[in-house]
């Protein structure tokens, strides 16, 4: 956060002497110049920490087992020297869980924690605080008032939807943090070429954390464009693009080196997975189609906070009028467009909408409330200009009042209902209850099928003949361990799994058909059920040698 322009507010700061100041003096000067921002930001970040951290292991529960999957993959990186706990198949670039692995390694996470998904949530708490600081920085670098910066951070953090989404171990949260870092670089006041390189690097990391990170390239380019004076744009934007593309390219290079770029017999490939992600996945429909999964997903988000998403949608129109808000309009539209296009919309998709909604709303308010300088009345033109700016101020003020009013009427009640839920409900406990039941009642050599949220924990409890439920059907290397098909399975442990999904896993589906429920816990968010598979009388387990899928 260096500023090259010294404003009049820094009166009393030590005058820059002709002799180059020592590092300590520079630090002092910096602290002095930014004392107000520091005084605002530090308490703000403390609040952010409390809001994001309060009950972060209890709520939300596990909405699906993606969280567990990423943590298990991070575990595999550290303990199996492998990119995933099963064959890595380029479903996502690995940098996201490599960061989780890094955090776990630094803090001895897998050894100390009782429940590993919650250990990974600590990292996401930190990422959320960093992201908040970055949002503050971006708004300040765009020369908005501190109040606007605080507003943006609060929207980003306090909205119930945000709290709900930010806590989960979804790679999108890391993607957003790195994306915000790229944006902060793009609006650097020094406007140096290194900041363009930095923006490219951060966006590449964002993309390598979650492959969808790259679609905000136009936003960063716009920010760079607006931030740079004429004649300096081309080189810097080229530097940004070159860095972004070449660093992201290492993912492709990695696949190439492993001979897994192009689909072929007997191995996974990046291209195949990419095509599958883009075209192969069943569409979840559009938000307009009431029967679609996307519709119910969006309704789910609306249930947490419909005001922010809709207010940001409305803010697009005033947002188009101002240079400083336009990049966020574009960002929000890109993310919405991808959702309305009608492809596969993942559960975590709201995460990429939140920062743009917060930035857009705050900066639009900032622009609308801007005081225009009144010109000295010298001629008709300046009189007209004054009239115009007066009119603009009135309109801006009116729109701000409407926005604030809409929040009080529509947003606040929902926040008041949802925030206590997020602060108090404990859905995380059901998992540990399930884990304890298994530990107590299931023999160690049983063949258990679990979801990934329980995978590492079960592994650590000594259940070696245990598999992630998807892999039994989909991974040929795992399938060999189930010679008697559905009869090879002894227990199935799952959270509510839609029937449609289960149908895609014939082995598990078949086993579940001849099983009985032996344990069940849960609430609205989580519902863990343990099924014991009833084997036919004639069935005798063959003492099949167990070959672990990875090394």
């Amino acid at each position: 956060m260096t500023t090259t322009v010294r404003t009049s507010s820094s009166v009393g700061a030590p005058e820059p002497s002709p002799v180059t100041p020592s590092r300590r003096d520079k630090l002092k000067l910096w602290l002095h110049e930014h004392r107000l921002s520091i005084a605002v930001l530090l308490p703000l970040l403390a609040i952010v920490g409390v809001i994001s951290g309060w009950n972060f292991t209890g709520m939300p529960g596990t909405v699906n087992d993606d969280e567990g999957t990423y943590v298990a993959q991070a575990w595999a990186v550290l303990y199996q020297d492998h990119l995933a706990h099963y064959t890595y198949w380029y479903d996502h670039p690995p940098l996201g869980w490599l960061q989780i692995a890094g955090y776990a390694w630094l803090t001895n996470g897998f050894e100390r924690s009782n429940y590993d998904v919650m250990m990974a949530r600590e990292l996401f708490l930190i990422a959320n605080i960093v992201a908040s600081a970055l949002i503050y920085l971006i708004i300040r670098r765009l020369k908005f008032h501190r109040i606007i910066a605080v507003l943006a951070v609060l929207l980003f953090v306090v909205s119930p939807l945000a709290i709900y989404q930010h806590r989960m171990v979804f790679l999108d949260n890391l993607q957003v943090t790195w994306m915000l870092a790229a944006m902060a670089f793009a609006v650097s006041p020094r406007r140096s070429f290194l900041s363009a390189v930095g923006a490219g690097f951060c966006l590449a990391i964002s993309t390598l954390s979650k492959e969808t990170g790259g679609i905000v390239v136009p936003v960063i380019v716009m920010l760079l464009w607006y931030n740079l004076p004429k004649g300096y744009r081309k080189r810097n934007i080229l530097m940004f693009l070159t860095t972004f593309i070449s660093v992201s390219g290492f993912y492709v290079l990695f696949a190439t080196l492993k001979g897994e770029l192009i689909p072929g017999k007997g191995h996974v490939s990046l291209l195949h997975s990419l095509v599958w992600q883009m075209f192969g996945r069943d569409s979840t429909g559009t938000p307009f189609d009431k029967g679609s999964e996307t519709y119910s997903l969006v309704m789910g988000w609306m249930g947490w906070d419909h005001w922010m998403l809709l207010a940001a949608l409305a803010a697009i129109i005033p947002g188009l009028f101002f240079r400083r808000t336009r990049p966020f309009v574009v960002g929000y539209l890109i993310q919405l467009g991808l959702m309305f296009k009608g492809g596969y919309v993942p559960k975590a998709y709201a995460i990429v909408l939140i920062p743009f909604a917060a930035l857009l709303l705050a900066t639009v308010v900032g622009e609308l409330c801007k005081r225009h300088e009144v010109m000295p009345v010298t001629n008709r033109a300046s009189r007209r200009r004054n009239k115009w700016s007066l009119a603009r101020e009135i309109v801006g003020f009116a729109l701000t009042v409407i926005l604030a009013g809409s929040f009080v009427v529509k947003g606040l009640p929902q926040w008041q209902t949802n925030l206590p839920i997020l602060a108090t409900r404990d859905s995380g406990d059901y998992l540990s209850q399930t884990r304890s039941w298994i530990k107590k009642n299931v023999p160690k050599d049983a063949h258990i099928v679990v979801d990934d949220n329980l995978w590492i924990d079960a592994k650590q409890d000594g259940y070696n003949r245990m598999d992630w439920l998807y892999k039994i059907d989909l991974d040929p290397a795992v399938r060999v361990n189930y010679p008697d098909a559905d009869n090879s399975i002894d227990y199935i442990v799952i959270d509510r799994l839609p029937e449609s999904l289960l149908k895609g896993l014939p082995l598990v589906h078949k086993a579940k058909a001849h099983s009985k429920v032996v344990f069940q816990v849960g609430n609205d968010d989580v519902q863990y059920t343990i099924y014991k598979v009833i084997h036919p009388d004639w069935y005798q387990r063959k003492p099949a040698p167990w070959s672990p899928p990875v090394k």
Partner: protein, 505 residues
């Protein structure tokens, strides 16, 4: 400007010994490592070190290429100040124009120099006694020019010991010291196209910055292709093909003078350019003229900085650059570069840069002087180290193989910068770009690096073999020199007017 008393310490270990020591220690270290951990680990370690070195050096190259563009404010640092007059600034120029076998171009250059808008300039054309053709032209032109504006100095040098440009420069410098009151000495080459307003701006720099001892202004090669006048359709294409290197050479100059010069000035260590350089008389008196090395320009910059704390200022403005042309063939380019590289290398070995006052400056000077060799090393080693790992000739973990590729990121950035700079260049100088230029830019990028690497290797070999022969660009075609007439050594030819009278007599 004062001489640092710490200078001229004699107790330093010679650089050659240090280099030899480092090599021996490195070799022993490698052997020990190989003995302890096996050949594969050793090879991987070496490759990793090479990749790390490549990465750092390629990144440094991007940094200095972008130096003048690093922030919007940065370019202002190199901006030309407003022009001034001799009455206001008190600056009077003595410009030296050393030449050999340049009868075709010298006349035009002299005329162009005389067109200067600045009012206190004397030009000194410094020629060799046997070079009768050039002398004839120079005399004729000098005679047509306003009285007192141009003097032609002719001297018969010892052709065994006094080969090359610095002797001609020093001869002119001695003449100026004795007979002229010019307080800033400038150098131009015979083929230079100098802008008439340049001197008025340069004088302003000296006027505004009394502490500045040396001003280096921009030089720019102008031709993106070799000359095709009069060539037929197919011959033209052939010439375009032969001139693929021009573009790269042009861009090198573009980056050198518009960016790298400013970077070097900021680091406080400047190997000067061969022309369009202006030195205060007081500084030249301290250095005793030009060092008589292969690259006197580079040596003067280093030695003035190291021994006399000279302060250099670099300015660049596309309007006022001195325009030059590329060498006429790949061979000529390599010869020219070989001489420069040898000059840089020998300057490095002499170790004068070790007299600079801070460690950072000394390291930076070492880096700048070694840059041709670092670039050569990078150019050769980068593809080799990547190939070894990528094709699995030596097996290593994937992460390490990926690391081998990291230097390609800054290399790619350099290539993109080349494209941006090329477009900027044609816009600034009103040139026209054809698709073939882009093709040459991309396809020729690596071959050009190899060309430079080849020149750098030959330069080191020359030093090692003790060759100090002048590999000269065609402007100094010394290999055509006639038998030497020692009888005339030491005789100063009279100034132009007198000489012409004699010729007329």
């Amino acid at each position: 400007m004062s001489t640092n008393p710490r200078h001229r310490r004699v107790s330093r270990v010679p650089l050659r010994h240090i280099l030899a020591g480092v090599t021996v220690v490195g070799f022993i270290g490698t052997v020990v490592l190989a003995g302890l951990t096996g050949l594969q680990t050793t090879a991987l370690t070496l490759l990793t070190l090479v990749a790390a070195f490549n990465l750092v050096m390629s990144s440094a190259e991007v940094k200095w290429r972008m130096h003048s563009h690093r922030t919007p404010e940065a370019r202002d640092e190199m901006r030309f100040p407003a022009p001034t007059t001799a009455a206001d600034s008190g600056i009077s120029f003595g410009l030296i124009l050393p030449a050999l076998k340049e009868q075709r171009v010298i006349g035009r250059t002299m005329q162009r120099l005389a067109q200067t808008t600045y009012d206190a300039v004397t030009n000194f054309v410094s020629l060799r006694g046997f070079d009768t053709e050039t002398i004839k032209v120079a005399m004729r032109v000098a005679n047509q020019l306003p009285e007192g504006s141009t003097e032609v100095l002719v001297h018969n040098y010892n052709q065994e010991r006094e080969k090359g440009k610095p002797y001609q420069l020093n001869f002119a410098w001695r003449h100026i010291r004795a007979h002229s009151d010019a307080n800033v000495i400038g150098v131009f080459d015979a083929e230079d196209d100098v802008h008439p307003e340049l001197l008025a701006h340069v004088a302003r720099v000296f006027q505004d910055h009394p502490d500045v001892d040396i001003v280096q202004a921009g030089v720019q090669l102008m031709n993106l292709d070799l000359d095709t006048t009069g060539a037929g359709f197919f011959r033209k294409r052939l010439i375009h093909l032969r001139g693929w290197f021009c573009l790269h050479n042009v861009l090198e100059y573009f980056f050198w003078f518009s960016s790298r010069m400013a970077f070097q000035v900021e680091q406080g260590i400047v190997p000067l350019g061969g022309n369009t350089v202006f030195i205060r008389r007081s500084m030249l008196e301290k250095t005793g003229g030009w060092p008589t090395t292969l690259t006197e320009d580079c040596s003067l910059g280093i030695q003035a900085g190291a021994f006399h704390g000279a302060k250099v200022h670099a300015i660049y403005d596309p309007r006022f650059v001195t325009r030059e042309e590329t060498p006429h063939s790949v061979g000529a380019l390599v010869d020219q570069r070989e001489r420069w590289d040898q000059g840089f290398w020998e300057e490095f070995l002499k170790g004068f840069f070790r007299e600079l006052d801070t460690l950072k400056k000394r390291l930076m000077a070492g880096y700048i002087l070694c840059m041709p060799f670092i670039q050569a090393f990078n150019g050769v080693m980068l593809p080799i180290s990547i190939a070894i790992m990528a094709f699995g000739w030596i097996k290593g973990p994937v992460a390490l193989v990926l690391f081998m590729f990291t230097p390609l990121v800054p290399v790619l950035m350099t290539m993109v910068l080349q494209v941006a700079a090329l477009q900027e260049f044609v816009k600034l100088y009103g040139k026209k770009l054809y698709p073939r230029h882009y093709v040459s830019l991309i396809i020729g990028f690596y071959p050009y690096q190899i060309l430079l690497a080849w020149a750098a290797i030959r330069a080191m070999r020359n030093t090692a073999a003790g060759h100090n022969d002048w590999k000269l660009t065609s402007h100094y075609g010394l290999h055509h020199e006639p038998e030497i007439d020692h009888s005339a050594t030491g005789i100063v030819a009279p100034i132009a007017r007198t000489a012409t009278e004699e010729g007329a007599a």
